[in-house]
Symmetry: C2
Subunit: 368 residues, 2 copies
Amino acid sequence: MNFARTNTLKLFAIGLALIQGIDSSAQTSTQKTVNIGNTWQALPVKASSPEDNPTTQEKVELGKKLFFDPRLSLTGTVSCNTCHNLMEGGDDGRSTSMGIHGRLGPRNAPTVWNSVFQNSQFWDGRSMSLEDQARGPIVAGPEMGMPAHKNAVDRIAAIPGYQAAFSRVFKSEEPVTIDNAVKAIAAFERTLITPNSAYDRFVHGNKSAMNEKQLQGMKLFDSIGCTECHSGPAFNGWEIGSTTPMFEEFPRNAKNPLVKHFGLNKDLGRFKATKNVADKHHYKVPTLRNITLTAPYLHNGAVPTLAETVRVMSETQLDAQISDTEVSSIVEFLTALEGEFPELTLPRLPSRSGQSVLDDQEPAAKTE
Amino acid sequence: MNFARTNTLKLFAIGLALIQGIDSSAQTSTQKTVNIGNTWQALPVKASSPEDNPTTQEKVELGKKLFFDPRLSLTGTVSCNTCHNLMEGGDDGRSTSMGIHGRLGPRNAPTVWNSVFQNSQFWDGRSMSLEDQARGPIVAGPEMGMPAHKNAVDRIAAIPGYQAAFSRVFKSEEPVTIDNAVKAIAAFERTLITPNSAYDRFVHGNKSAMNEKQLQGMKLFDSIGCTECHSGPAFNGWEIGSTTPMFEEFPRNAKNPLVKHFGLNKDLGRFKATKNVADKHHYKVPTLRNITLTAPYLHNGAVPTLAETVRVMSETQLDAQISDTEVSSIVEFLTALEGEFPELTLPRLPSRSGQSVLDDQEPAAKTE
C-alpha cells in the first residue's frame, strides 16, 4: 500500500465522519445541516515560497514578463499564457493544447490559477515544484518547441531589459539562466490565487453566500464520496503545509461504458513518467477551484461539459449512479468555487532595440 | 497627378523651408540649430472618434476583452494581441505574422500603437477605418482563420458575459454583431497612444530631452528628405484633423541592389487591393513611432535591423548615400520616438460556465 492509498483511506474516514455529523443534525434547512467541521476549508489568500526561491515583488514582476512572453517559444507565438490564459480560467478552453505550428499536445492544459496549492504539477505529477514544471513546456515539441533551454536563455539574454531585470533580482554575474528564469516564473505563479469564492465566504461564516441548491450539491458532493480525493482548501487533497503528492487511479471502474465512450483508459498516466506498473492510469488530483471556467474536462479534455464530467466521475470512480437533478446540484455547488481574480496589469516586455530577438532562430522556425 | 503626389510635393516644400530655416541659423550647438517650426509636432495624447462610434469607457473595456480574446480565432489560439502584442511594440517581432496552425501571412504586422493616427490601415491601406480593419484578420486564413464572421459572432454570443456587455454598450435587441464587435475593438484601439517620448518633450520645449546625437539625426532625417513622407506628429504624413489617406511608391529606385537583396519589389502593394496599375508598389506611409520596438522591418519584414532599414530607405527612396555614422545618428534619433505606454490592466474574459465555446467548432479546427 503506497502513500496515496493510505491517504485516500484517511480522507474517506473523514468523509464518513462528516456524513455522520450531517445525519445526526435535526435541523431542517440544508443551510444549517451542512457541517463545516474540518473538511470544508477556505482557500488561503497567500502561498508560502520555498527556501531557495523566496517570493519578492521584483521577482514576481520579472516572472510575469516571462510568463507572458511569446518569445520564449521557437516561433515567438506561444507564451505560458497561451495555454494557461490568466485572462480566463488559466487554461485554453481546448481539449488538448495547441503549441507552435498548430501542433497538438497529448493532454488537457490544467489551470495555473491556484497551482501553487497542487503538491505536484502536470497531470501525471512528474514535477514536484512550480519551478520544475516551468522548465517543461519551453522545450516540449508541441508546446513552445525550443530545441533546448539554451535557446530560450540566449533569446532572453539578448534583450538588455531582461539582462537588467535578472541582475536586479538574482544579483549574480551571469544572472540569465534557465534556473533563474523558472524561479521567476514560479514566483509569479505563487501569486495566482483566487480566494473569496461564494464557498469561501460560506466557510468563513456567511451563511447566505451559497444558495440552497449549492448547499444541496455540497452535501451530495461529500456524501457520494467526491471529497475522498477532492478535499481540502483547493479540493485536490492538498492540506495546508503538506508537500506530499497524492495520486489516484483513474478510471477505477474501467468497464463502465463511459470510459470507452470518452477514451479515458488510453492514457497510461503517471506510468509514462515513472515506468512503475503500479502507476498505470494514476494521476494527480486536480483542483476544482474555478472548474466552471476550464472546460473541456479530464486529462484528455474529451468530456465537453461539467455536468457530463460530474456523471463520469461519479460512475467511473465512485460507482454512484446519480440523477440528473443530483448532477445539476453538484454542478451548482461547483459554481460556488469561482474565486476572485486579482487585477493584474499587463507587463511591458523589454525589446532589443532595432532588432527582433526572433531573428536568431527564424530560419529554424520557418523550415519546420 | 493624384493626391498622394500633390501631398508629397507639399510636404517636400515644408521640408525645404525647414532646412533653410536651419541653415540660416548662426548658432553652433545642434540643439539650438534644430528649428521646431511647423514640421516637428508632438503626438496628440488623445484621439477623436468617428460620429457613428463614439468612444465610451464601457465600449473600450469591451473592445479590450475582444482584442485579447483568442476564442475569436478558429482554434482558440490567436487573438488580435497575438500579432499586435500590446505588451511590446504592438507587433509580433516576426518577418511575417503567424496565425492558426502555424500558417504564415504575406506581410509584416504593423504596430497597433498609435494606429488611430494612420489615415488608412493595412500596408496597402485597403481599410479606411480601424473598424473596417478589425474585420479582416478574423476571417483571414493565415490569421484567425474563421470560416465567416458569423462563426466569430456565434462564439461570442454563446458567452453570457459578452451578451451582457454588448447589451450594455450597444443597447439593441441583438447586440452581438460583427459591426458592434469591430466598433468596440476600434474604440479600444483609439486609446492606444504613446505620447511623451523624448522627441515630444523636446518639441514641447524641453531642450535637454534629446541628446546631441539624436538631434544630429533629427536634422539629417529632415535634410535628406525622410520628412517628405514621414512627417507630422506620427511621422506618417498624417496631419491632425486630416482623413485623406496618403500612399507612396516603394521602392522608387527599383534598380538599387538592396531592392533585390531584400526582395522589396515582389509585393505589388496597393495594386493587389485596387487592381489600379498606378497603385503598383504603393503603400501607406507607416508611423515611425516606437519603430525601435517593431523589428524586423518593411512590408515583408525582410530587413532585420533598424540601421539596415534606414540605409535601405535612404538609398531606395531618396537616392541618398549616407555614411555609417549618419545612419547611426538617424537610428539614434528614432530611439527618441519611443513613447510612454499606458498602463493597461488585463481584462477578464467571460466564459460559458461549464462548457468551452471552442467545442462548437473544434472538429473543424482539428481536421485542417
